[in-house]
């Protein structure tokens, strides 16, 4: 007669000492909660980015513990400010030096579309040469909007097939954006609803 054998590990799962999950979920969870920004603060949005990193709005609550100015040590490039053609080469070079996995956030109107500067000197949106994941509108966006953008990136990261991506040379190609680019309104801190991806 076979009795059901209770292994010690079952009790540990019930008491939540052991979690059973998929590698993708675990790796994505770890990555999304430790996204260290690379602040490419080019202009006025840099001030609001500093505010988001300071104590009142505190981006570190969400895992973005430190602003790492070295591309080797950061995960998320936040392009905050106007990018002129002369600077675009520098931004691209820094982006290329960042190690995979990496994400990009276009903060503010100038980084998203060139903003109010429809002119000869300003790149009309950094997505002309960078793969942007999240756009934040605003001039400048409120720090809460920056935090919402970070949360949107975290939601994206949680959906990534991490294991499959590790085996691919080009992460960006496998990344799916079924609803198109994610745009965060910069003037308020929206509630998280079903419509906000």
């Amino acid at each position: 007669m076979s009795a059901r054998v209770t292994l010690g590990v079952d009790q540990k799962v019930e008491s939540r000492d052991i979690l059973i999950t998929r590698v993708d979920a675990a790796v994505d969870w770890m990555r999304k909660n430790s996204v260290w920004p690379m602040p490419m603060g080019l202009a006025c949005c840099g001030i609001e980015l500093m505010a988001a990193g300071a104590s009142r709005f505190d981006i570190a609550r969400f895992g973005a513990e430190v602003m790492r100015f070295s591309p080797r040590q950061s995960d998320l490039m936040i392009v905050a400010g106007t990018c002129v053609y002369k600077m675009a080469g520098v931004v691209k070079r820094v982006w290329d030096q960042m190690a995979e996995p990496k994400w990009c956030m276009a903060m503010g109107a100038c980084a998203s579309t060139g903003g109010m500067y429809r002119s000869y000197a300003v790149v009309q949106g950094v997505d002309r040469f960078l793969p942007v994941d999240v756009y934040i509108s605003g001039c400048p966006p409120r720090p809460e909007a920056v935090l919402e953008g970070l949360l949107a990136i975290q939601r994206q990261i949680q959906q990534e097939p991490a294991l499959k991506n590790m085996k691919r040379a080009d992460r960006a190609a496998s990344y799916a954006q079924p609803q198109g680019p994610i745009i965060i309104r910069g003037d308020y801190a929206p509630k998280v609803t079903e419509g906000n991806t």
Partner: protein, 204 residues
Amino acid sequence: MTLPQAIEKLQTHFAAAVSAPVEFRGEFTVTVNREQIAAVCAFLKAECDFAMLVDLSGVDNYGTDPRYAVVYELCSLTDRSHLRLKVSVPEDDLLVDSVTGVWRTADWHEREAFDMFGIRFRNHPNLKRILMWDGYPYHPLRKDFPLAGLPAELPATAIEAGQVQTASMNGGPFVTAPGARTAARREPRQSDTALDRQDNKGTN
């Protein structure tokens, strides 16, 4: 020395090269001959105590002859008075003496005037572009240069597609559709494919 005294001293010393002062709302402007501008500036700094060059800028008076001008704003720190000098520069001879020998700060201001208008400065220590990149073929602040810009080559940098495209004006300068539901409709942006189709033909 007060400002009227300084101007009188200047007029006595450089009779022909310097015009009578024009006063507008307490600000005095003097027009100077292009050939004598360096000497006038050196005199004003040494004898009339205008120790600071506050600003130096180029001007494009499109449609008048001579077309360009260079404007110098001087300040006497002891007297707290300002004096403005204007030099006319004709389009066919875009050359002015540099005043970097008098005030070091003129270095970068003259580079900006060269970059934006094409006005060259004789005896400048390092006359090259300062705001745009070195190989940029145009002078953007001339009145006949469109705001949206013209297609140009970017220098070889990390960007693969090194092509400066014209900004999309959409009939602008600023075209909005207020009240539209999404930001993309409120402030329309030209798509990249449309730009390619247009083949970078100026403003649209």
